[in-house]
Symmetry: C2
Subunit: 338 residues, 2 copies
């Protein structure tokens, strides 16, 4: 059986096609700014469908309904459900829900609250099979999910973005699209879209090019010098090539601050939910930040539990992979009941 | 004699044509996103020139060289000087400098550091004729200048944006283009370009439409409901019309916080530079924020010193008006020396 897992974000689409009998996985990421134009979504889905070829089923999770091109999330989710069912065929398409694992179109349109922005839940649900007690930390291009799992159950207190932000289970920073002022809050900096954390981690050589897909803030190159120049601009400074090491030091300080905020938040959630030591599971393009904080004894990556796929190909496709694997189990269970 | 004063910003061009014999002033503002395309600058200058007709002289100040379309400020300033001299005629055009008051093209190209981002200096220089000891506070769409003036001299410690930010003489917030996260630093909010302070002050009915020229963050309407919806999105919430009063309360809290930061910064600069009470002079589209903080005895607006022009027409054109008036005095003095 073959299943394609889709994680439809507001800026990127991530997909994973898994052949379960042959144990083969292909992943793909596409820069797709839904917020700029809703047609980007149709075009990108058609393009990916063509590239990946036929498949028995499609498993969907999303966050793109958050884009401000939609009047509200509810309308966004409905629009995305309709587009997907039209292109991929309604029969084959299943939507991941945090309540019942999967819904078909009709029910999905009614229960949009259980579907929208639940990609983090799918990833946690999948990893809970391997680590029944743990904290999953997934750092993407613009967000970080910190998800406690106990006795195989996702015990996060937040069920939507508003509450997740409130409980520090969702932190609105990642390692690429996030503005530098989300970390450097105390200094007086320039609040313009001149640079982002992508520039910080490019200067520090920590962003794999394969995953760094979106444009830079000034649409200029992603070279280290151009990245340093963009950072300097946020500090109100003009850049000279001789200054590179100076801005690298600034970048290191910002990385340090981001790690501190991360660690503090993970510790809070650990203290609240667990009395003994539990493993921390890292995922996402910003996984390097978490790996740096924890000792090897107690730290594992999402990718260590994937066979037949390289880490570099799985990074940022965690939800797409998870949702495909979950749908496979769901359909197997369903069949075994007959 | 007629002089046109130009304040060339990265997002707006502000101009003021003053007929000094007839004591008549016309002002104009144009949304002109230089950072999107350098050609917007040429087009807008040509358009304004056509609308305002002939003039004896042109007085120029700028901040547009900061736009990331230019490799650095130096190159930006040079490019802008060349464009202006070509369109407006080199002979007639004078550039405001913080050292000598005005420079012609050749010298301006050499001394870009004295020219770039000096519009605040021109406004302070002009107001010092009326208030020899004061603090000028100018709140624009994205920045706030806090400028101490003593014995008719601008005694600000910062001479460029980097230092001005460091000394809190430039705060990178205004009342329109600034992200809400520049004020709400402690809450976990969504760091996307969903809303800005313009939405806050539209909800509170404090932004005159005439001055609110740029597009909203989602390119949708600037109605109170649409503004409240954009604010809700930053907090991770979907908006319902019944919620308007709830978001108005949030907007009020944010206004209160911005006033607190403002007051603290003005007080710091006051304490550092003055031993006795001095007048506070308010300017810019965000003047309403400062007026709210100070008692009437000690507070004056920039506009109270302008004859022959309404406040609503002068708002946001302070630097353009100042630079035209300063050039008039400069040329008079020059002539009187012969």
């Amino acid at each position: 059986m073959e299943i394609i897992g889709w994680d439809i974000g507001g800026a990127h689409i991530k997909v994973s096609k898994i052949n379960f009998s042959k144990e083969k996985t292909i992943t793909k990421q596409l820069y797709c700014p839904v917020w700029m134009n809703i047609n980007n979504l149709n075009k990108s889905i058609l393009k990916i469908k063509k590239q990946l070829g036929r498949s028995d089923y499609h498993a969907i999770t999303m966050t793109a309904e958050l884009s401000d091109i939609f009047k509200n999330r509810n309308k966004g989710t409905k629009k995305i459900i309709n587009i997907l069912c039209e292109i991929l065929s309604e029969k084959k398409t299943f939507f991941y829900s945090n309540a019942k694992p999967f819904l078909k179109k009709k029910e999905a349109l009614k229960k949009t609250n259980n579907i929208n922005s639940m990609n983090w839940h799918a990833t946690a649900n999948f990893i809970s099979d391997f680590y029944p007690n743990c904290i999953l930390v997934d750092i993407g291009s613009s967000t970080t999910d910190i998800i406690p799992i106990k006795k195989k159950r996702v015990i996060a207190k937040g069920t939507n973005d508003y509450k997740r932000l409130l409980f520090n289970e969702l932190i609105y920073f990642g390692v690429i699209r996030t503005p530098i002022t989300a970390i450097e809050k105390k200094k007086n900096l320039i609040y313009e879209n001149f640079a982002n954390l992508g520039d910080i981690y490019r200067v520090l050589n920590k962003l794999p090019k394969k995953i760094d897909l979106g444009p830079s803030q000034d649409n200029k190159s992603k070279s280290k010098n151009d990245s340093a120049r963009r950072i300097a601009r946020i500090f109100g400074k003009d850049y000279k090539k001789n200054d590179f090491n100076k801005w690298k030091k600034v970048a290191l300080q910002i990385e340090k601050k981001q790690k501190k905020i991360l660690k503090d938040n993970i510790n809070k959630i650990k203290k609240k939910n667990f009395s003994s030591s539990i493993p921390i599971i890292g995922a996402g393009v910003g996984e390097f930040l978490i790996r740096n904080i924890y000792s090897k004894n107690n730290y594992f990556t999402f990718y260590s539990k994937l066979k037949s796929i390289k880490k570099i190909n799985a990074i940022n496709c965690e939800a797409a992979i998870s949702v495909a694997k979950l749908l496979n189990s769901f359909l197997k269970n369903k069949r075994s009941k007959f």
